[in-house]
């Protein structure tokens, strides 16, 4: 899959990612400094006084010029040191190493759920456009987009955890520690997160499949007597795979962001909770660390998508 030409492209894209990472962390750092409130007030605590807040600014270097603060953060970050939380003193890298797997597990499960349910629904609707199946699928899809995932999450907890006692209502377990417990904790949040994704996959797949199946080319294939199943799988789905890949890639990015809410509903100690808590206290090393990691993930996902594009359809150059 990775020939010399593609390797060259990958190398170029990795280099292009560097300014993206730097720029995004710079912008976020700037925004954190622009909005009112500062971490020195949080650090001074309940007995805050103007004098103590000034002392803390001095002690933590918070009164240094903006560029100097950002520069010293970046200088450490490129050496692999994401600093420590200003509030709790935990190493940011440690927090991320612990939180990221929880978030990735939910997003991966949610994506799989979206595909496993969304693809058959989309196919069913596309092969009989205008039928009752199509109407039902489209109705489900509209509902899936309209229902907020935190609300669905609470309904799922009420039914599957509190009523039936089948699955845990809150928390998370590391996959490496106990895979089964880890999955049982992740199922409900993943389903809540997947609801919009199922709808998206079904709708997108339906519309692009309908378009292809009603094209001149397919009509010719029918005329030649090719069986409908063969037309659907070999010509229909193969052609829409690039569209589907785009949907998956966009979904993955969106789900990473949506975990903020779902993690709060299920009390999952993931990246969403980490950044929200840090942003509330203006704990910029933590915010920066999370943004840095998320940008790296998104850039890698996009790169992977581009490579897969060129594999699925050689006419598209990565």
């Amino acid at each position: 899959m990775l020939n010399a030409a593609r390797l060259h492209i990958v190398g170029r894209r990795v280099l292009q990612a560097i300014p993206v990472v730097v720029l995004s962390t710079f912008i976020v750092f700037g925004l954190l400094k622009l909005v009112p409130g500062d971490v020195a007030v949080t650090l001074a605590g309940d007995n805050a006084s103007d004098q103590r807040i000034a002392e803390i600014r001095e002690l933590y270097g918070l009164n240094q010029p903006f560029l100097l603060q950002y520069g010293s953060w970046l200088a450490k970050a490129v050496q692999g040191d994401l600093s420590n939380s200003l509030v709790s003193n935990e190493a940011v890298l440690t927090s991320i190493q612990r939180c990221l797997p929880h978030t990735l597990l939910i997003v991966t499960l949610a994506l799989l759920t979206a595909l496993l349910i969304g693809v058959p629904l989309g196919i069913a609707a596309a092969t009989k456009p205008g039928s009752w199946i199509d109407s039902v699928v489209m109705a489900i899809a509209s509902l899936g987009v309209a229902v907020p995932n935190f609300w669905l999450g609470m309904l799922l907890v009420a039914f599957f955890s509190l009523q039936l006692n089948w699955l845990p209502a809150t928390g998370a377990v590391a996959f490496t520690k106990d895979p089964w417990a880890s999955l049982s904790h992740a199922i409900l949040p993943a389903v809540a997160l997947a609801s919009g994704g199922i709808a998206e996959v079904a709708r997108q797949l339906r519309s692009s499949l309908v378009e292809i199946l009603s094209s001149q080319q397919v009509r010719t294939l029918h005329a030649k007597g090719l069986p409908p199943s063969s037309i659907l799988w070999r010509h229909g789905l193969k052609n829409v795979s690039v569209n589907l890949l785009t949907v998956i890639s966009l979904l993955a990015n969106r789900m990473l962001a949506a975990t903020v809410v779902v993690e709060a509903v299920f009390a999952i100690p993931g990246m969403g909770g980490l950044i929200v808590n840090a942003a509330m206290h203006r704990d910029f090393p933590v915010v920066q660390g999370v943004v840095f990691t998320m940008v790296l993930i998104v850039v890698s996902l996009n790169l992977l998508t581009d490579i897969l594009y060129s594999v699925l359809d050689p006419r598209i150059a990565a």
């Binding site: 409130g37 605590g45 003193n89 809150t170």
Partner: protein, 517 residues
């Protein structure tokens, strides 16, 4: 020291417990007469509302840290659950003269690492708390001139001025003793690897996820603690925290908002505990500038509030109307000024007209974005609107809005927030109303008030101190320096297997008497 008769107040408190939580709650809180010998063992799982700011008492800052800190650290002085009256903890205290305080330490106490909790350790801690550059509690101990070790188990504090608030201060962060050996070995890292002399020792802390503590086998109070350990699962979303208890994943959730009361009532096998606290929801004024520099405007706002309705509408009835910054069950409550501002919209309008605002006025106010704060804000807006005061709200996170109101920006006329309470009332008035105090947005104060705050720390006699606080309260109430609205009750949900939990007036749970059935 004279002990005030608190019988009637205690009874009232029990009445409230029985009324709200039913008989089960009164039994669950383990009134001494009903107490049986608690069962030993088991790990209590608690849904904790916030990640601690630090596990080093000197460097932390958040009020929500205490419940976790108290498991690891014992304090030199403790307090009475119902009244917050100081009582001996790891040490007893005495004042041979007004500027000398002697601390006598109980023999045989050890830190978790085996270091002796003796006079040297106490001196080390107090010196560190009042001088270390990372210490957030230097100002609490500002009245200390010097600390001497006068015997292996005795330290003597020489004070710059009389300060009888020190026992209460030593029941807070400043009195939590950390192992000197650990501090010397780890320095700044101790906030994540704490060693104290409390009933449980530290095991693990994952930010925003979990804190685990396990029994300290050599704990100085024989037979305690009852629990083998405690797991604090950090869940910042209140409704989620409660769901975790309903689902049986946690045994207890505390500091829940009043709106969740019906959920607890509906759930099976849960005990609800609700109890008075010092947490005072109030409107802060910036009275250093117009129009709040006008006494009549401040008084008008106070007359405009219908506090009983506020408690019903904003706290689902789980609270007490506030007439000053201390609740009626507090030992320093001054009932003579409690009736100063009855709900009187006509009087409010008249005062506004006299102040030159016949057609009403518009004020800017800061508030927070969470559901409960928004609800409070709406009630306030409605009540003030009825007398012609139009509020222009700006909402944001606590860090954002409180910095804009209290720090340099001075952005709003008013702030709707809360005063979380302190073990000693002189801390409440000193931090909230004194000249230059951070929580006094205008930084100005009546010289008489500053004088009285100092005077409130002179006598050891609580009755005499209460007299001084009565004068302080007269000034803050008559000058309408803020608009206290309501004391929020603590609301906790406990699984039926949790025994012996006793709420306290500070509203921050201690776990020392808890056992599992």
């Amino acid at each position: 020291m004279r002990i005030l008769d608190l019988g009637s107040r205690t009874l009232r408190r029990r009445d409230i417990l029985a009324l709200i939580g039913g008989g089960a709650a009164a039994a669950a809180v383990g009134l001494p007469a009903l107490a049986q010998e608690p069962k030993k063992g088991g790990v209590l799982k608690v849904a904790a509302p916030a990640n601690p700011s630090s596990l080093d008492p000197a460097t932390g800052g958040a009020g929500s840290d205490h419940s976790i800190l108290w498991t690891i650290y014992d304090t030199l002085v403790e307090w009475d659950y119902d009244t917050l009256k100081p009582r001996p903890g790891m040490a007893k205290w005495s004042y041979p003269n007004p500027t000398t305080m002697v601390i006598d330490i109980t023999p045989g106490i050890q830190f978790h690492d085996g270091t002796a909790m003796d006079a040297e350790a106490v001196k080390f801690n107090l010196d560190r708390n009042r001088s270390d550059q990372r210490s957030n509690i230097k100002s609490d101990l500002a009245s200390i001139e010097s600390i001497e070790v006068t015997s292996p188990l005795q330290v003597t504090l020489k004070l710059k001025s009389p300060d009888t608030s020190l026992p209460a201060i030593l029941s807070d962060r400043a009195g939590m003793m950390v192992s000197p050996t650990n501090i010397k070995a780890l320095g700044n890292e101790t906030d994540r690897k704490p060693v104290g002399a409390g009933p449980w020792k530290f095991v693990r802390w994952n930010d925003n996820e979990i804190i685990v503590v396990a029994r300290h086998e050599n704990y100085w109070r024989k037979g305690r603690p009852y629990l083998d350990g405690i797991e604090f699962n950090i869940i910042t979303e209140n409704a989620t925290a409660l769901r975790s208890v309903v689902a049986g994943q946690n045994d207890m959730a505390f500091q829940l908002p009043a709106r969740l009361k019906p959920v607890i009532e509906r759930a099976k096998d849960l005990t609800m505990v609700s109890s008075p606290t010092l947490y005072c929801i109030q409107v802060y004024f910036n009275y250093a500038r117009a129009p709040l520099d006008n006494l009549k405007v401040r008084q008008a706002i106070n007359f405009a509030f219908d506090r009983d309705t506020f408690v019903k509408a904003a706290l689902s009835g789980l609270g007490e109307s506030a007439r000053m910054t201390l609740p009626s069950s507090h030992w320093a409550f001054n009932k003579d000024v409690a009736g100063t501002y009855p709900h009187d919209p006509e009087k409010a309008k008249k005062l506004l007209a006299e102040a030159g605002y016949k057609d009403g006025l518009e004020l800017t106010i800061g508030g927070y974005t969470d559901q409960d704060s928004v609800r409070r804000g709406e009630v306030i807006q409605d009540q003030l609107g009825k007398v012609g005061i139009r509020l222009k709200f700006t909402r944001g996170t606590i860090a954002e809005i409180s910095a804009q109101f209290f720090a340099q920006e001075k952005k709003f006329d008013l702030l709707v927030s809360a005063w979380t309470g302190r073990p000693d009332p002189s801390m409440t008035y000193g931090l909230g109303f004194d000249k230059g105090a951070y929580y006094n947005a205008g930084r100005t104060a009546d010289p008489e008030l500053s004088k009285l705050i100092l005077e409130s720390r002179v006598s050891e006699d609580l009755a005499k101190r209460a007299e001084v606080f009565a004068r302080i309260q007269r000034i803050t109430v008559e000058q309408a320096l803020s608009a206290p609205l309501a004391f929020q009750f603590e609301l906790d949900a406990l699984s039926s297997k949790v025994k012996g939990f006793k709420p306290n007036l500070l509203g921050k749970p201690k776990f020392e008497y808890i056992s599992l059935a």
